[in-house]
C-alpha cells in the first residue's frame, strides 16, 4: 500500500513537496485542519513566511495537534518550517513547536538578493556521498543545538541540516532541487 504523508498547507511552498512525494510514489495530503493529520504517517512543514504560518497554526488549533503528532511520527521542517521546529526563535512573533532542541535565526542569510544555490556535502553515507544542490531563500540559521542533535550538513562551517530522533530540520529547500534523496532519507524507515 502507498504511504500517506501530510504537508502543512497554510501558506508557502507546499505544492513542491506534493510533486516530490508523488515522484517517490507516496500519497501527499494537504493538511489545514487537525483531523487531516489522522491518516498521515509523517508530516512536512514547508517553507513560506514563518510569521504567517505561526499565526495560522495558532488560530486553527494545529499547534497542540502537531506537537502530539510529532511525539510518534517523523516531521521534516524546511526554512520557515525549520523555524517552527525549533525550541527558540529570535523573533517573538513566532511561537515554535519545540520539536528539536535548537535556536532558529530568522533571515540569517540575508534578503532575497543574497539568496543562492550551492552544492553542499551531506555528512551521512546514506546519501550516496554526492553533493546536494541546496537552494537558500532568505534562509534561516541554526544555532545553540542540544548535544543529542546530529548535524547532517554544513555550509561555511554552520549547520544547515540537523536531525533529532526521526525529525529533520533544514535551512535550504530540497523540494526545489528535483533531487529526492533527502526526502527518501527522512522517509526510509516509514
Amino acid at each position: 500500500m502507498r504511504k500517506t504523508v501530510g504537508i502543512l498547507a497554510l501558506q508557502g511552498a507546499y505544492q513542491k513537496h506534493v510533486d516530490t512525494l508523488s515522484a517517490l510514489r507516496i500519497t501527499p495530503v494537504l493538511v489545514r485542519r487537525p483531523e487531516e493529520l489522522k491518516n498521515c504517517a509523517a508530516l512536512i512543514l514547508p517553507g513560506g513566511e514563518s510569521t504567517t504560518i505561526s499565526l495560522l497554526i495558532q488560530q486553527y488549533d494545529l499547534y497542540e495537534a502537531i506537537k502530539i503528532f510529532a511525539a510518534s511520527h517523523p516531521v521534516m521542517g524546511v526554512c520557515a518550517g525549520m523555524i517552527m521546529m525549533a525550541t527558540e526563535v529570535d523573533d517573538k512573533r513566532v511561537e515554535p513547536l519545540g520539536l528539536i532542541p535548537f535556536k532558529a535565526l530568522r533571515n540569517h542569510y540575508g534578503r532575497q538578493v543574497h539568496s543562492f544555490t550551492t552544492a553542499i556535502k551531506l555528512a551521512d553515507s546514506d546519501f550516496n556521498g554526492n553533493a546536494f544542490p541546496a537552494t537558500f531563500i532568505r534562509a534561516p540559521g541554526i544555532t545553540d543545538m542540544a548535544p543529542q542533535v546530529k548535524i547532517l550538513a554544513c555550509y561555511k562551517n554552520e549547520a544547515v541540516m540537523i536531525q533529532a530522533d526521526r525529525h529533520l530540520a533544514l535551512s535550504f529547500h530540497p523540494e526545489l532541487s528535483g533531487d529526492t534523496r533527502i526526502h527518501e532519507y527522512w522517509l526510509r524507515n516509514l
Binding site: Y14, A80, D91, Q112, S115, F116, T118, R138
Partner: protein
C-alpha cells in the same frame, strides 16, 4: 560547484515566488501600515507612496516610491518587502535592487516610462513580478525574465470583475493550448506574440513556468477566495485593506480566506462582522483611457 560557489540563477528567483504561494501580499504606504499587515499574517508587503485608489484620484505622474520610505518599511518588518518601478524604467529598478528590496513589481499602476519596451529583467539579481491580462502578455514578461506573473485586474477599483476576466482568460488560453496539435503551436506563438518555447512549455504542462498570482480589485475575503478558486496561487491586495473602515480585521480575514479559500465555513466566519469595505468603482465609471490594465505591451 563546490562549497564556495554561490549561484543566483532563475530558480532562486522563482524560489521566493514559491514561498509566497497561498499568501496575501498587501500594499502599504508607511511603516505603521506595514506592521499592521505583518501582524495580520501578510506573507509580504508592497511598499508604495500612494495606493492605487489615491493615484487614480490624484492624477499626475506616479513614480517609484521614495527610497527612504521603503527603507523605513524594511526596518520595521521581517517579511519580504516589494516595491514598484515604472514599466520600462530600468534605472528605477537598479535603485530598488541596490536598496535590496525582495521583489520588484514592474507595474502598470505607475505611469509607464517606455511605450514599447519592458525592462530586460534577466540582467537583475532581484526577481520581478509583472502584470498580465492574457497568456501572450504573461509569456512575453516571462521571456523578459519575470519570475512571477500576477493577473492585473483593475488596480484601485475595489471591483473584482477585471481580475476575474483576466484570470479566466489566462486559464482558458492555457487549457486550450494543451489540446492543440504540435503543428499549431508556432502559429499560436505568432498570434499571441509570445516566445515559441514558452508556448510549448504551457502546451505540455498546462500552466505557466512561474507562479501565477492575482491582483487588482480584491476588497473582501470572498474576493480573495474567488480568485484562489479560479486558479490564483496567491493574492495581492492593494487599496482594499487600507481604504476600508477596519484595516487590521480585514487584513486578518483576507489572510485566512486566502488559506481556506475552498472552505465556506471559514469564509463565513471571517466575513462576519467586518465593517464597510472600500466603496469601489463600477467599470463604466472608469473611462477607457484611464484603465491601468491597458498599460503594458
Amino acid at each position: 560547484m563546490n562549497n564556495d560557489t554561490q549561484q543566483n540563477d532563475f530558480s532562486v528567483k522563482i524560489g521566493l515566488a514559491e514561498m509566497l504561494k497561498g499568501g496575501a501580499i498587501m500594499d502599504v504606504t508607511n511603516a505603521e501600515q506595514a506592521k499592521i499587515a505583518e501582524d495580520a499574517g501578510a506573507c509580504a508587503v508592497m511598499a508604495l507612496e500612494r495606493i492605487p485608489a489615491d493615484i487614480r484620484r490624484d492624477g499626475g505622474v506616479a513614480r517609484m516610491s521614495n527610497p527612504k520610505m521603503i527603507e523605513e518599511i524594511q526596518q520595521t518588518v521581517s517579511i519580504p518587502v516589494m516595491a514598484k518601478c515604472r514599466i520600462g524604467h530600468f534605472a528605477e529598478a537598479q535603485i530598488l535592487q541596490a536598496l535590496e528590496v525582495d521583489f520588484i513589481d514592474e507595474s502598470e499602476v505607475l505611469t509607464p516610462a517606455d511605450e514599447s519596451n519592458h525592462i530586460f529583467k534577466r540582467d537583475f539579481t532581484v526577481p520581478f513580478v509583472c502584470g498580465a491580462t492574457n497568456l501572450g502578455e504573461a509569456l512575453r514578461r516571462i521571456g523578459e525574465g519575470a519570475a512571477m506573473i500576477r493577473t492585473k485586474g483593475e488596480a484601485g477599483s475595489g471591483n473584482i470583475v477585471e481580475a476575474v476576466r483576466h484570470m479566466r482568460a489566462l486559464q482558458n488560453e492555457m487549457q486550450r493550448l494543451t489540446t492543440v496539435s504540435k503543428e499549431q503551436r508556432m502559429s499560436i506563438s505568432k498570434d499571441m506574440g509570445a516566445p515559441y518555447d514558452l508556448v510549448c512549455y504551457v502546451a505540455e504542462h498546462g500552466k505557466l513556468p512561474v507562479p501565477n498570482f492575482s491582483a487588482g480589485g480584491i476588497a473582501t475575503p470572498a474576493d480573495a477566495a474567488l480568485v484562489r478558486q479560479l486558479g490564483a496561487e496567491a493574492v495581492f491586495v492593494g487599496s482594499g485593506i487600507f481604504k476600508s473602515d477596519d484595516p487590521a480585521a480585514r487584513a486578518r480575514a483576507i489572510v485566512k480566506a486566502t488559506t481556506y479559500f475552498d472552505d465556506p465555513t471559514v469564509l463565513l466566519e471571517v466575513s462576519r462582522g467586518l465593517q464597510a469595505g472600500m466603496k469601489g468603482l463600477e467599470m463604466s465609471e472608469i473611462p477607457e483611457d484611464e484603465r491601468l490594465a491597458a498599460r503594458g505591451w
